[in-house]
Symmetry: C2
Subunit: 455 residues, 2 copies
């Protein structure tokens, strides 16, 4: 169903025009790589989050959820390796003073074309702040560059409070921040974004098979959200591309308008992180002259009866939520030629992800009987708890249909004069994808809607 030829311009235009996504603080000129979700984008993003949480936390019995702070203790990011190695190479143009990524240019300044560039230097991608009332080196804190560290730091807390046994996972949806040198491609590469990350803790030696398991699971999940399998590719990262913590990473690439790019990465982080935070405990204790060194070094280890304590390995499916939103939008965007020769834009999005589930349209806005029935129908549908149901009384019916096609509303219900005349009362239900219109009795409407939304 997907339209592979959608351009980024078409998506950006739809997002701004219909209220999916706006550039943050555009009235002050905006900030590069920073976006706000509007009324429709907020719903789409929320629906995608809820779908992930349901499938990862609620429908399984081996995963717990957490929600950690964005501000992060500097020590955690020192020992995780981010303070030293989470960098991009950067060059400055000596002529126009523009700063850019060294690995994204071809010997010339992307701004002014000069070849008078500095040598490449490492630039740390973490956003830094001072935490507390005193601004000093001791008060440095970072905005987390990945949600994962909140999970590793809480490994023992979760273990102690839930009595979990290996294998099990900890999931989290939340913001992460990277001070990208050159943000680009709309919400694909931005400086503030959301991740849906899960750390699955396994026995060393069982990590390869779990890695394989999660690659399959995650690819299937994106397909279950309506992404066309033709637009997804698996790609194993080469050793050059691997992050400092990874033994092996398989990326799920989506065919975005700007190319096949990462939607989600599934990494085998081994015992790198839990090990680093464990070693650090030892160091801290030595510094503080604490005697019970042995006890602390075992902090992030587990022990099963009859076995030696060990640091678990970790398989990490890490998805970009904003990239997910972008992929869903690109995949659902269709231009169709209608019988009358006109073109329509329609977002063929899965009903569970649609920002608005049903639009209820009174055909005559000045007829009190029609308005009253339309409002009652709206209220009854809202009580179902399916998500957003819109009472739609702006513009004429043709415009309303076009708007709701474009924003992916699966069903439009029209209350018209026939509703008033017929007994039992009925309404017209119009289906977004097929353009079929059915006459449905109001008494049967709720069940009809619930069943359609399930599909």
């Amino acid at each position: 169903m997907s339209n592979h030829t959608v351009t980024m311009e078409e998506i950006v235009s739809l997002c701004k025009r219909r209220g999916f996504i706006f550039q943050s603080y555009d009235l002050y000129g905006g900030l590069q790589g920073l976006y706000d979700y509007g009324p429709l984008g907020t719903e789409l993003k929320k629906n995608l989050k809820d779908a992930w949480w349901k499938d990862i936390v609620y429908l399984r019995n081996d995963i717990e959820g957490i929600d950690g702070s964005n501000l992060t203790h500097r020590q955690a990011l020192k020992y995780s390796g981010h303070e030293d190695t989470f960098t991009d190479p950067m060059v400055d143009c000596r002529d126009c003073k523009f700063r850019m990524r060294a690995d994204h240019i071809e010997g010339k300044c992307t701004q002014c074309g000069s070849t008078n560039l500095t040598e490449a230097r490492d630039f740390n991608l973490m956003l830094k702040t001072h935490y507390g009332p005193v601004e000093s080196d001791d008060s440095i804190a970072y905005l987390r560059p990945e949600t994962a560290q909140s999970i590793f730091a809480n490994f023992k807390n979760v273990l102690d409070s839930t009595a979990r046994k290996i294998p099990f996972g900890i999931a989290q949806i939340g913001k992460a921040y990277r001070n990208e040198i050159t943000p680009r491609n709309f919400i694909f590469r931005v400086r503030e974004f959301e991740q849906m990350e899960m750390e699955f803790f396994v026995k060393p030696g069982e990590d390869d098979q779990w890695h394989e398991y999660w690659v399959k699971e995650r690819k299937n999940w994106w397909i279950s959200q309506g992404i066309s399998p033709d637009n997804l590719t698996l790609e194993a990262q080469t050793s050059n591309d691997l992050s400092h913590y990874s033994k092996a990473t398989t990326d799920i690439l989506y065919k975005f308008p700007h190319g096949d790019e990462e939607l989600e990465g599934i990494a085998n982080r081994t015992d790198y992180d839990l090990g680093s935070h464990t070693k650090n405990q030892a160091e801290l204790n030595i510094q503080a002259n604490v005697k019970e060194n042995t006890h602390s070094t075992s902090k992030l280890m587990v022990q099963t009866q009859g076995e030696k304590p060990y640091v678990p390995y970790v398989i990490e499916p890490s998805a970009g939520l904003d990239r997910g939103v972008l992929a869903i939008l690109c995949d659902a965007y269709c231009k169709e030629q209608l019988e009358d020769g006109k073109e329509r834009i329609v977002l063929k999005i899965k009903p569970s992800l649609a920002p608005i589930k049903v639009a209820v349209i009174p055909l005559a806005k000045n007829n009190p009987d029609i308005v009253s029935i339309a409002k009652d129908v709206t209220k009854d549908l809202q009580a179902l708890g399916l998500g957003r149901i819109k009472y739609e009384d702006t513009g004429n019916i043709g415009k309303a249909y076009r708007r709701h096609d474009e924003i992916g509303t699966p069903l439009c219900i029209t209350v018209d004069f026939e509703t008033l005349e017929n007994e039992p009362q009925s309404v017209t239900v119009r289906h977004r994808d097929t353009l079929e219109q059915h006459r449905v009795n109001i008494a049967d409407l709720l069940m009809y809607i619930v069943n359609t939304m399930k599909s």
Copy 2:
């Protein structure tokens, strides 16, 4: 039902022990005023957010939702008045160098007791960072001190994309950050927190009546979430307490263990914010020598047919989500004397807010038939989409009941030997609050659970 004598220590202990809330990065000594939500706290917070969003956005027809970035354009916070006036008075101890809030001390250092203190100075509460690859005055950005500014900055975007007319509201749930000099009282006063804010735009002159309307609505909402009305008080702020943007603010106070303190504030922000951002447009245009000054100054105004354009007034119900979680926990926490003389701790939380809806307990963990039925029941309940259903096979049945009382699980279902013997198959359903146990046929179980959860 609520226990007014619960202490903060009891709440903190429950939260840590059972996995509601942990201090962030406690393995590195923690950061003051920074918390992570554990498996249960994450669910409770999510349920409270979803309840607010449902009642504010889905069940009304006059409110849109947005989700804005945490990083904020410096200019927006300059013109909103935060860069100049969002401050607390601060003093330093000359002896021990400790820094504290001037209005929270009685002439002595809270750390060492010295009276050798500096004069009070203004300290800006916003957390600052540098955005982009160059660290200079031009690259300063802030973490938003309130979610509201994202809403004001998107007023025109929302208006243009939804064709809304005054009165209407824009709602948002998201993080905000304040570099409090002395964070305290667990998750009550912290440096990173979540807000549930809604800006309701009205005609000037109709603001007082809308203010009154929203104060009532919001107080009733907290009661609908299970908070005892006896623990809520309304308090009009005196002119000394009012924020720089407010004409009048009514606080909803909750009787927290540390005193009657603000849970939510409903402010009449007048046209302060939209007006400030509008004037700023004019200034920016003058600086840039843009001619069409008039056009830009009217950017954040609205015009109804036959009327002069005007800047809408704003009524803002602004609730602290973390404070909401704390209030819900305090209000639900009960210690009860049982008939056998033992005490039980029970969290009498509304089923829709409960972190775990149902625990399914196989009475004999080694009986494959019992385990198989318990797993099937778990799976069927999970498919209902009510939230988290836990398959509970740790500890004995008595311990499981105690644990689920303490974390507020409304129902425990036990699969026992009777289940295997009787035809039709039945299970025991135990009710948290009444301790009643009912025998329910598995065939009727789903409907039984759905109906109980609705109450």
